[in-house]
C-alpha cells in the first residue's frame, strides 16, 4: 500500500485509560485511502476501544484522530464522517430493512424520492433487492449483517468501521460474508477499519494488519510481513503454529553472507539477510514454521542444517499430516501437505528434517512482556 501519500486517517499518539487500567499506550498509525486495515489482537488488547475512539464512542485521554486532514478526536459520533457496523448490528427493530438503511439519509433531510433511489442501490449492492419491506426479525443473520453494512454505507462515509462484524455468524456463513465484505469494500474503494480477534480472518481480509497487545502496537504490516517476518515472539506465536529454537550467533562470514548459530541441535547456517544488526555472541530466536521444513526418510549421516529424528506421533488432518518429531531430546512440529503418493510416516520411523537457510530470526531480547 502506498502509505507515503497523504493518509485518509491518521492516529497520533493515542492514550486511553479506564480507571487505573491503561488500555492504549501511545497508538500511532496511518491508513491510506481505500485501504482495509485490520485491528487484531487477543481479547482485552484494546482493539475495540481504539475503534470506538475513531468512531467517537469513547473519549481519548490524549492524542489525535486526523480524518482527511481534520482533527475529529473531540467530535461526537454524529458529527464525524465515519460510520460503524456494530457487532450486534444494532438494527432498529421497529423499522423495516429499507427504513433502517435510509435512517441516516432521512436525518440528512434527503428528499423522499432520492432516499428511495439510494436505498434501492444499496439493497442491490448487498444482494437484497426484494427484501426492503421485511422487518428485521424476519431476515436471517447474514442478511442482518448486510443491512447493517448497507446502512453504514448509505451516507458515503469517508471511513467505514467494522466491529467484529462476523462474530455472530456460523462458521460457513462467516467465510461467505468475509469475502462479500471484501468485495464490496474493494468495489466502492472505501477506507475501512476491521476489528477482529480471529487471526485467520484478519489475514485473509486485510491489506494490512495492526496487531495490538497490551495496548501497544506490536507490528503493522501486510499479511505476508506478519506471517513471514514477525517483529517479535508474540507476533510469531499469534498467527499459526511456530517452532521456536533458541541460539547464539557464533560466526559471521560476510563473504558467503552466512551466519552460524549454535542451537540445541548443533550449528546452523543461515542467510545473513536475516540478521540486521546482530553481532557475534548475540542470543537469538529462530522462528521455524512447521510447513517450511522438508521432511524425508533418514538415509545416513546428516549434512549442514539437516537433523535426524524419530516420528513420535502424528495427526492426520486430511489436507496435511502433522508430525511430532523427536530430535535429540527436543520436539519439533512438522506439517507435511498431501500431494498424491506422498510418503506417509508411521510412529517410530527414522526421518530427517532440514532447517531452511532463510529461516526468520528474532533477537532474543524482543521477547515481549507476557501478561
Amino acid at each position: 500500500m502506498e502509505t507515503q501519500k497523504t493518509p485518509m486517517l491518521e492516529l497520533i499518539d493515542i492514550y486511553k485509560s479506564f480507571g487505573d487500567v491503561e488500555v492504549l499506550k501511545g497508538i500511532s498509525a496511518k491508513i491510506a485511502k481505500g485501504e482495509l486495515l485490520t485491528f487484531v489482537g487477543p481479547s482485552g488488547c484494546g482493539k475495540t476501544t481504539l475503534l470506538r475512539i475513531v468512531g467517537g464512542f469513547a473519549a481519548l485521554d490524549s492524542g489525535q484522530v486526523i480524518l482527511d486532514g481534520e482533527d475529529i478526536g473531540k467530535l461526537p459520533p454524529n458529527m464525524r464522517d465515519t460510520k460503524m457496523v456494530f457487532q450486534s448490528y444494532a438494527l432498529f427493530p421497529h423499522m423495516t430493512v429499507a427504513k433502517n438503511i435510509g435512517f441516516g439519509l432521512k436525518l440528512q433531510k434527503w428528499p423522499k424520492k432520492k432516499i428511495e433511489e439510494r436505498v434501492g442501490e444499496l439493497l442491490s449492492l448487498v444482494h437484497m433487492d426484494e427484501l426492503g419491506d421485511r422487518t428485521i426479525d424476519r431476515i436471517s443473520g447474514g442478511q442482518q449483517q448486510r443491512v447493517a453494512l448497507a446502512r453504514a454505507l448509505a451516507i458515503e462515509p469517508k471511513v467505514l468501521l467494522l466491529d467484529e462484524p462476523l462474530s455472530n455468524l456460523d462458521a460457513n456463513l462467516r467465510v461467505v460474508m468475509r469475502e462479500e465484505i471484501r468485495n464490496i469494500q474493494e468495489r466502492i474503494g472505501i477506507t475501512t477499519i476491521f476489528v477482529t480477534h480471529d487471526q485467520y480472518e484478519a489475514m485473509s481480509i486485510s491489506d494490512r494488519l495492526l496487531v495490538l497487545h497490551n495496548g501497544i502496537i506490536q507490528q503493522i504490516g501486510t499479511p505476508v510481513d506478519i506471517y513471514e517476518q514477525p517483529a517479535n515472539e508474540f507476533i510469531a506465536g499469534f498467527v499459526g503454529y511456530v517452532n521456536f529454537l533458541e541460539g547464539k550467533v557464533t560466526a559471521i562470514a560476510d563473504e558467503t553472507r552466512t551466519v552460524t548459530v549454535f542451537t540445541a541441535y548443533g550449528n546452523l547456517e543461515l542467510n545473513h539477510s536475516q540478521f540486521d544488526k546482530s553481532e557475534k555472541g548475540d542470543e537469538v530466536l529462530l522462528v521455524i514454521r512447521p510447513e517450511t521444513i522438508p521432511l524425508s526418510r533418514s538415509d545416513g549421516p546428516t549434512q549442514q542444517n539437516t537433523f535426524n529424528g524419530i516420528i513420535e506421533s502424528f495427526m492426520y488432518a486430511g489436507n496435511f499430516v502433522k508430525y511430532t518429531i523427536k530430535i535429540e531430546d527436543k520436539e519439533m512440529i512438522v506439517d507435511q501437505y498431501n500431494p498424491k503418493d506422498t510418503v506417509k510416516f508411521e510412529r517410530g520411523d527414522q526421518v530427517k528434517i532440514t532447517v531452511p537457510r532463510s529461516t526468520h530470526v528474532l533477537p532474543k531480547n524482543t521477547a515481549i512482556e507476557h501478561v
Partner: protein, 562 residues
C-alpha cells in the same frame, strides 16, 4: 465501555441553542423531574407517617408507641398479623410446591388445567374469596344451610382460607419458576442411580429449590400481612393491623395512632423488601449447565402423587367453587336461599357508576404510570449520575409498601397546602401510579436490557442527536414496555382497595370500595355482581397484556397488588 458522547448540533439560532441544551441535558432534566415526583409521592407520604407517629400536640413524643405496646387491643393486632402471615406463608409454600410440582412433573393431562386454576385468582381482587366464603359458609351460607352446619367463617379459619386462596398464584408462579429453572437431568441422574421419587424430591428437588422457596415464602408473608380486604371482611372481632389502621382513621380519627400502626406494619415489609432485593438477589443454584431438556413425562410414584393430589385438589376445587359462586350469586336473588334468576344485581346503577369511576381512575393511573415508569426505566438504565440505585430502589419500593400505609400517608401528606389533593380524583390516581410503579419500571428495564446500547450508538453514528435518538428510536422500541406498564397499572388499580379506601369521598365510590361496603352490609348479590364485572374488565386487560407480551417477547412479570 458505554460512554456515548452525543453532542451538539451546529448553528446559532435560538432553536438550535435550545436544542443543543436539551441534547446535553435532557436525561438530567428527566432525572430531576422524576426524582422530585418520587420524593413528593412516595418518600414524603411515608416520612409524614413517621413524623406523625412521633409528633403529638406537644411536639416530639414516644407516647403513641408506649400506648401501642401497653394496650392489649393494639399489640395483639400486631401479634395476630404476624401469626396470620406466618401460617398463610407456611401453608402456601406447601400448597404452591404441590401445585408447581404437579404442573411441571405431574401427569401431562393435569398440567395445563391445574396451572390455569392456580393462576385464576390473578384475574380477581383478593377479597373475592371473602365474598365467596360468606356466600358458602356465612350465617346464611349455602353449605351451612344445606348440610345444616354451624361453621363460622368470621374467624381465623375464614381469614386464613381466604388469604391462602388469594395469594396462591403468587406462591405458585414463583415456585413453578424455580422448578422449571433447574436442569431435569439432575433429577434423572438421581433416578438413574436408583433413587426413588420420594427420595429425589427430598434430597434433590427441595434442596435445589430451597432459595426460591424462601423467596416465595417471604413475598407471601408480606402480601398477606399487608392485605386489607379479607381480614377486614372476615376478621370479625379479631384485630389485625391493616384493618385496624383503617378503623383508627374512619372510626376514631386518630391519625397519630394510625401512623404508629402503619409504622409497625411497614417495618417487616421494608425489611423483607431489602432482604429480597439485595440479600437474596441472585441467590439460588445456577444449574443451567449443558443442554437443558424438557423432562420426559414419566409416571409419578404413588407415594408422591397421592399426598400432592390430596393437598392440591381441594384447594383447586375451592378456587373454582369461589368463582362459580360469585358468578351464580350475581344472577340469583340469594344463593341457596332464593334461587330465582334476577338481573337487579348486575344492572344496579350504583354498582355501574362505581365500575365506571374505577375505569376512569384506572385509565388515568395507567397512562400516567406508564409514562413515569418508562421514563424512569430509561433514566435508571442509561443515565450517568449518582443516586441511580437510590432512584431505582425508591421506584420499586412502592410495591413493598402495604396499601393501607400508603393510603394513610397520602391523607396525612396531601390534606393541606402546598399539596392539597384530598377529595380530588388525582389523589387516587397518583396514589395508584406510585404504588404500582414497580412493574412499569421493570418492564422498561427488561426491554432496555434486550436492546443493545449499540442501537443508540448506531443512531448517533448515522447522524442523530440525542433528541432524535430518544424520540425516534428509544421510545418506539420501548413502546411495548409502555403498553405493558399501562395495562398492568390499569388492572391493579381496578382491583386496588386497601389504599384507595382512605382516599375516596362519599358520593365517589370506586368498584373495589363498593364491593367492600356491600360485602360488609351482607349485600352479597351486589358485591358478587360488581366483582364479576370487575373480573371481566381485568380478564380482558390480562388477555391484552399476554397478547402484547407474546407479540413483543416482553418479559412481563405479573405481580399482585392488594
Amino acid at each position: 465501555m458505554a460512554e456515548a458522547v452525543i453532542g451538539p448540533v451546529s448553528g446559532n439560532s435560538l432553536w438550535y441553542q435550545v436544542r443543543a441544551f436539551l441534547n446535553a441535558k435532557l436525561v438530567h432534566i428527566f432525572a430531576g423531574g422524576l426524582f422530585t415526583l418520587l420524593a413528593i409521592f412516595l418518600i414524603y407520604p411515608i416520612a409524614a407517617i413517621l413524623i406523625k407517629s412521633f409528633w403529638g400536640d406537644e411536639g416530639f413524643t414516644f407516647d403513641f408507641y408506649v400506648e401501642f405496646f401497653s394496650y392489649n387491643f393494639y399489640y395483639w393486632s400486631l401479634i395476630n398479623t404476624l401469626i396470620l402471615g406466618t401460617s398463610v406463608m407456611l401453608m402456601l409454600v406447601i400448597v404452591g410446591f404441590c401445585f408447581a410440582y404437579l404442573t411441571t412433573r405431574g401427569p401431562q393431562w393435569l398440567r395445563k388445567p391445574l396451572k390455569i386454576i392456580a393462576l385464576l385468582p390473578l384475574a380477581a381482587p383478593p377479597y373475592i374469596f371473602a365474598i365467596s366464603l360468606i356466600t358458602l359458609l356465612g350465617r346464611n351460607g349455602f353449605i351451612n344451610n344445606f348440610f345444616d352446619l354451624d361453621l363460622n367463617i368470621y374467624s381465623w379459619a375464614g381469614v386464613i382460607t381466604a388469604q391462602c386462596l388469594a395469594f396462591l398464584p403468587l406462591s405458585f408462579m414463583m415456585i413453578e419458576n424455580v422448578l422449571n429453572s433447574f436442569n431435569p437431568s439432575l433429577e434423572e441422574t438421581a433416578s438413574d442411580m436408583g433413587a426413588s421419587e420420594v427420595r429425589i424430591v427430598r434430597s434433590i428437588t427441595i434442596p435445589l429449590a430451597a432459595p426460591g422457596l424462601l423467596k416465595a415464602a417471604l413475598l407471601v408473608f408480606v402480601m398477606t400481612i399487608a392485605e386489607f380486604g379479607n381480614p377486614a371482611i372476615l376478621g370479625g372481632r379479631i384485630p389485625f393491623l391493616a384493618p385496624d389502621t383503617y378503623l383508627m382513621i374512619t372510626g376514631e380519627g386518630d391519625f397519630n395512632m394510625a401512623s404508629v400502626l402503619s409504622v409497625v406494619l411497614i417495618t417487616p415489609c421494608i425489611l423483607i423488601f431489602f432482604l429480597h432485593n439485595y440479600v437474596l438477589k441472585g441467590k439460588g443454584y445456577a444449574t443451567i449447565t449443558g443442554k437443558g431438556m424438557a423432562a420426559e413425562p414419566k409416571p409419578m410414584a404413588l407415594a408422591i402423587k397421592i399426598p400432592f393430589l390430596i393437598i392440591s385438589v381441594p384447594v383447586a376445587t375451592m378456587v373454582l367453587l369461589s368463582f362459580g359462586v360469585i358468578l351464580i350469586g350475581s344472577f340469583v336473588k340469594i344463593v341457596g336461599v332464593d334461587n330465582t334468576f334476577v338481573v337487579d344485581h348486575v344492572m344496579n346503577t350504583q354498582s355501574n357508576i362505581a365500575i365506571w369511576n374505577s375505569v376512569k381512575v384506572s385509565l388515568g393511573a395507567g397512562g400516567v404510570g406508564a409514562i413515569v415508569g418508562t421514563l424512569l426505566a430509561y433514566v435508571i438504565m442509561r443515565g450517568k449520575f449518582r443516586g441511580r440505585q437510590i432512584m431505582e430502589m425508591t421506584a420499586l419500593s412502592g410495591f413493598a409498601l402495604p396499601g393501607t400505609v400508603i393510603g394513610v400517608g397520602y391523607i396525612i401528606a396531601f390534606n393541606r397546602p402546598p399539596f392539597l389533593l384530598t377529595g380530588t380524583i388525582w389523589i387516587i390516581i397518583l396514589n395508584c401510579v406510585f404504588r404500582f410503579l414497580a412493574v412499569g419500571v421493570e418492564a422498561g428495564i427488561s426491554k432496555l436490557h434486550q436492546i443493545s446500547i449499540e442501537i443508540e450508538e448506531a443512531s448517533a453514528d448515522l447522524g442523530a442527536d440525542f433528541i432524535t435518538i430518544f424520540f425516534k428510536v428509544v421510545l418506539p422500541i420501548m413502546f411495548s414496555a409502555f403498553v405493558a406498564g399501562f395495562i398492568y397499572t390499569f388492572m391493579t388499580t381496578m382491583m386496588s382497595l386497601s389504599s384507595v379506601i382512605f382516599l375516596t369521598t362519599p358520593g365517589f365510590d370506586l368498584a373495589s370500595v363498593y364491593i367492600y361496603l356491600t360485602a360488609q352490609l351482607g349485600e352479597l348479590g351486589l358485591a358478587s355482581a360488581t366483582t364479576i364485572k370487575m373480573i371481566a374488565i381485568v380478564a380482558i386487560s390480562f388477555g391484552l397484556l399476554q397478547f402484547v407480551a407474546k407479540k413483543t417477547g416482553l418479559d412481563v412479570r405479573t405481580k399482585q397488588g392488594a
